[in-house]
């Protein structure tokens, strides 16, 4: 039995060594540009994860974020909380997607890095039951008398004491009117507060303008990784007006494809100068709408042609210079050699025949 186990281990080990040793990777020097690919793929993989989770029964996912991260499965961090250190926000999310309403939990550890208040953003796309909890950090447990209030704007919300030093409220986010900022405040010797900003997810798109050429194709992508948009709409800004890009309007030139619930793509074929400008993609969620701005620049092919010709001319000039220098230096060598030759002939005529043969006998 032991032998069989050892054999299995050895087999595993051998295969592992073999396959790991053969996984070479692509060659040459430091790749400084993997970040583009990796960020893209992270988005892809997140989408996959989300889809995967939707298919399964209640899955609990506890993620502890130490640094500024990208949104992932109903978990978002505000920028203040991104400083690595002891005062971090721990966010816990539990999703049960059997029912249409998901239940999410968010926690904030007080105080934050700044010392008095800490904020975080809660992105919601679907109707959800959100439980917000403020936890007092252990080092501040010496604070004895304080008052905890939860409020949203001017409205106070009644809370429950979860434990001795944590307090929570439950918010039922059923429509966009429930979005806003919810805060918990500890008033006592010190005033500490934690703020939860409820908002629809932000749309991710290319910040820099997309550059394309006349009669070429341009592709613009908008995505909200990790969230499900009900529908996407594209707008084009003409002057100050916004025109909806309706596929039936110019079916041959505009192609809108919904790659998944969270990615949309606008493809414009046979570009013209008029297509240059601002574009908007709008995602409609259950709880509201979110917009993203993109820019398209249409250039003529003359634009890159000028630097191209400039570089080609530079190459031709350099090659010509090097060739001239070489011819010149060989000519110089020639004239020097000729001078030497004349000297030798002169010597020869002086010395006589025998010595000239010595000259020509070269040791190789």
């Amino acid at each position: 039995m032991l032998a069989a186990f050892a054999g299995k281990c050895l087999e595993r080990l051998l295969l592992l060594c073999l396959c790991l040793s053969l996984s070479g990777g692509s060659p040459a020097d430091p790749a400084m540009t993997t970040q583009d690919a990796s960020s893209q793929s992270q988005a892809n993989s997140l989408t996959n994860m989300k889809n995967g989770l939707n298919e399964h029964m209640a899955t609990t996912q506890i993620v502890n974020w130490q640094t500024q991260g990208r949104p992932s499965d109903h978990v978002t961090l505000g920028h203040e909380v991104s400083v690595p250190g002891p005062n971090l926000a721990t966010v816990e999310s539990r999703q049960t997607s059997n029912q249409s309403v998901s239940s999410v939990q968010y926690e904030l550890l007080l105080p934050g890095a700044s010392g008095t208040s800490v904020e975080t953003t809660v992105s919601l796309d679907n109707v959800a039951e959100v439980e917000l909890t403020c936890i007092l950090d252990k080092q501040y447990s010496y604070l004895k008398s304080f008052q905890v209030t939860w409020e949203r704007g001017n409205e106070t919300i009644s809370h429950t004491n979860k434990t001795g030093n944590s307090w929570s409220i439950k918010v039922s986010v059923s429509d966009s009117s429930k979005l806003g900022s919810y805060s918990c405040t500890l008033k006592g010797e010190k005033q500490l507060s934690g703020i939860f900003h409820f908002q629809v997810p932000k749309i991710e798109r290319k910040e820099k303008p997309t550059i394309s050429y006349l009669r070429d194709t341009a592709v613009m992508t908008c995505e909200c990784p990790g969230y499900t948009a009900i529908s996407w709409t594209w707008y084009m800004t003409n002057g100050s007006k916004q025109i909806v890009i309706n596929e039936s309007l110019l079916a041959d030139r505009y192609v809108i494809s919904k790659k998944s619930a969270s990615i949309t793509q606008l493809k414009i074929l046979k570009l013209t100068k008029e297509d240059d400008g601002e574009y908007w993609c709008e995602a409609a969620f259950e709880l509201g709408k979110s917009e993203g701005r993109l820019e398209l620049k249409v250039l003529s092919f003359m634009v890159p042609l000028k630097p191209f010709i400039a570089v080609v001319i530079e190459v031709v000039i350099l090659v010509a210079l090097i060739a001239c220098y070489e011819i010149h230096s060989t000519k110089v060598k020639c004239t020097e050699a000729k001078k030497e030759f004349d000297q030798i002939e002169h010597l020869k005529s002086e010395d006589g025949g025998l010595e000239s043969s010595e000259v020509r006998h070269r040791r190789i």
Partner: protein
């Protein structure tokens, strides 16, 4: 120990002068050849969107480019043996330019594969090998320094090409960038123009004008300053007469020296290098993703690679200088083995790095080790086989490396799936895809984070083990090789002392030297040969 600066070239290389211009040209060529596939990855996202393809499909472009660059080695060698370095490099530069410019007008991914992948890759292959070969022709005493400087072109080019690519992409889009990159690649032609041919005749001009030298000059003058002098013409004529009598093996060996596979040093180098390449490049690719998974943000992770590149720039010429010193040069193979093992040790210690500072320290040492290995990669091969056979040797070595680099990941991925099935008893799904995607530089999804986090460490440990093994193997085998060479040298010296034997050169020298020395002083034949071999000049192998 073998004599450190023996040469079988047939002439004394200048070790300076125009050689430094050649080193500069070589660094440009080498830089483009190694860094262009890397800097090209900036365009992937856009191209994926335009052609609606997956990451794997677009990554094939750089894979094909790398494959052709390495696999085109033998073709390079054959062409250099036939035509010399200069025309080959200029033609290579032209091919690169044409490939990228035609890539700018592509309408499908297949066209991209051919234009950017294949044609540009072939052009880069025709750039890489001849550059390295030229250094061996121009340098002997200072060859390690020249090699180190030429290889330093790679990180320098990376530091400039990556931001340049980003700038071009932001200003002109991908089509315009390809067009301009094509023009930039034409600078390889400039590098090629610097590769002035050098051979047994030309070198004699540079020596001080002795009695013998004057005679050579006289011949040159009468031959209209052609760079190949008469004594070369004479034996070349004999050679061409004999060519018909040679069998086809020798003819093939003239273009690509397969007899190298009987060369002990070459075989050691080949096996050691193939072993080393299994774990050479993976850490660079996984450094940034590993850093990101340790919780470091994207820009700091990219900064690690910048640190690596900067240390690399400094390390390569420094290694060249160290390798050139009188203590190291005779034992350069040991130094090479040591640097490979050092590289491996760095990787083995990497999993101990638990913070950003630790990773920075690792990057510094890794950059140092990487630079050391790269600087000596070709120098050691030149040292083993000699500059004459190096032309063919480099081609054969690169095609072996190419197979390792390309076939490794797919086979590795397949074997990983089998291992996973056996060890966990279930079908690998997301985890495997994650690992396979890891090979392409993608990040694993958070769900399998905990699963695969251990595997990053595995990757580093595995690379470290492979490199240490390769280093140890090379160390032991080179110790054996040095001993055998010393023994052969002793036997050779014993034979030379025999007065009956005519003075023989090293094994690498061709027969024509023997013939001319045996014939003694020539007066009439030399003069007659001036006009005759003039016709042969065109058909002669330019070196």
């Amino acid at each position: 120990m073998p004599p450190p600066v023996s040469s079988d070239l047939g002439y004394v290389p200048p070790d300076g002068g125009w050689g430094w211009a050649v080193v500069f040209g070589a660094s440009i060529s080498v830089g483009f050849a190694y860094t262009f596939p890397k800097a090209f990855t900036i365009y992937f996202k856009e191209l994926q969107a335009v052609y609606s393809i997956s990451y794997s499909q677009i990554a094939w472009v750089t894979s094909i480019m790398c494959a052709t660059t390495y696999g085109g080695g033998p073709i390079s060698s054959i062409l250099v043996n036939r035509y010399g370095s200069r025309p080959v490099v200029m033609f290579g530069g032209l091919l690169c330019g044409i490939g990228m410019v035609s890539g700018a007008f592509c309408t499908s991914i297949m066209q991209l594969y051919i234009c950017v992948g294949f044609i540009t890759g072939l052009g880069l292959a025709l750039n890489l090998q001849p550059s390295v070969i030229m250094i061996g022709k121009y340098f002997l005493k200072r060859r390690p320094i020249a090699n180190g400087l030429a290889m330093a072109g790679s990180p320098v080019m990376l530091c400039t090409l990556a931001p340049l690519n980003q700038f071009l992409f932001d200003s002109f889009g991908w089509r315009g960038s390809f067009l301009i990159l094509g023009a930039i690649l034409l600078n390889c032609c400039v590098a090629g123009a610097l590769f002035r041919p050098i051979g047994p005749g030309t070198a004699s001009v540079k020596t001080p004008v002795t009695k013998e030298g004057r005679g050579a000059l006289k011949q040159e003058v009468t031959e209209d300053a052609m760079e190949i002098s008469s004594p070369t013409n004479l034996p070349m004529k004999n050679k061409t007469e004999e060519e018909g009598d040679r069998d086809c093996c020798e003819k093939i060996n003239q273009y690509l020296d397969f007899s190298l596979f009987k060369h002990r040093g070459f075989l050691i180098y080949l096996i050691g290098n193939v072993l080393m390449f299994l774990g050479f490049f993976a850490p660079i690719i996984f450094l940034a993703p590993y850093a990101k998974h340790m919780g470091i943000d994207e820009y700091s992770a990219a900064f690690l690679l910048s640190i690596l590149a900067i240390v690399d720039i400094v390390a390569r010429p420094t290694t060249g200088i160290i390798a050139n010193s009188k203590w190291v040069r005779p034992r350069i193979q040991y130094f090479f083995s040591f640097s490979i093992a050092f590289n491996g040790t760095c990787h083995l210690l990497c999993p101990l790095a638990s913070s950003y500072t630790g990773l920075v320290i690792y990057s510094v040492f890794f950059g140092l080790a990487f630079g050391m290995v790269c600087a000596m990669l070709f120098e050691t091969l030149m040292d083993l086989v000699g500059a004459v056979r190096f032309t063919s040797a480099v081609g054969l070595v690169t095609i072996a490396e190419c197979c390792t680099i390309l076939l490794g990941p797919p086979i590795g991925g397949f074997l990983w799936m089998e291992w996973f099935k056996i060890s966990t008893g279930r079908d690998p799904q997301r985890s495997v895809l994650t690992i396979l995607n890891l090979q392409e530089g993608l990040q694993p999804s958070e769900g399998t984070l905990i699963d695969t986090f251990g595997d990053y460490k595995y990757m580093f440990i595995k690379c470290g083990v492979v490199m240490v093994l390769a280093g140890t193997f090379l160390f032991i085998m080179n110790y054996y090789n040095y001993r055998m060479l010393a023994k052969e040298e002793k036997e050779r010296k014993a034979k030379e002392e025999d007065p009956k034997t005519v003075k023989k050169e090293n094994e690498g020298r061709s027969n024509w030297i023997k013939e001319t020395t045996q014939d003694g002083p020539e007066l009439e034949p030399l003069r007659e040969e001036q006009e005759g071999p003039k016709k042969e000049v065109n058909g002669l192998i330019e070196v």
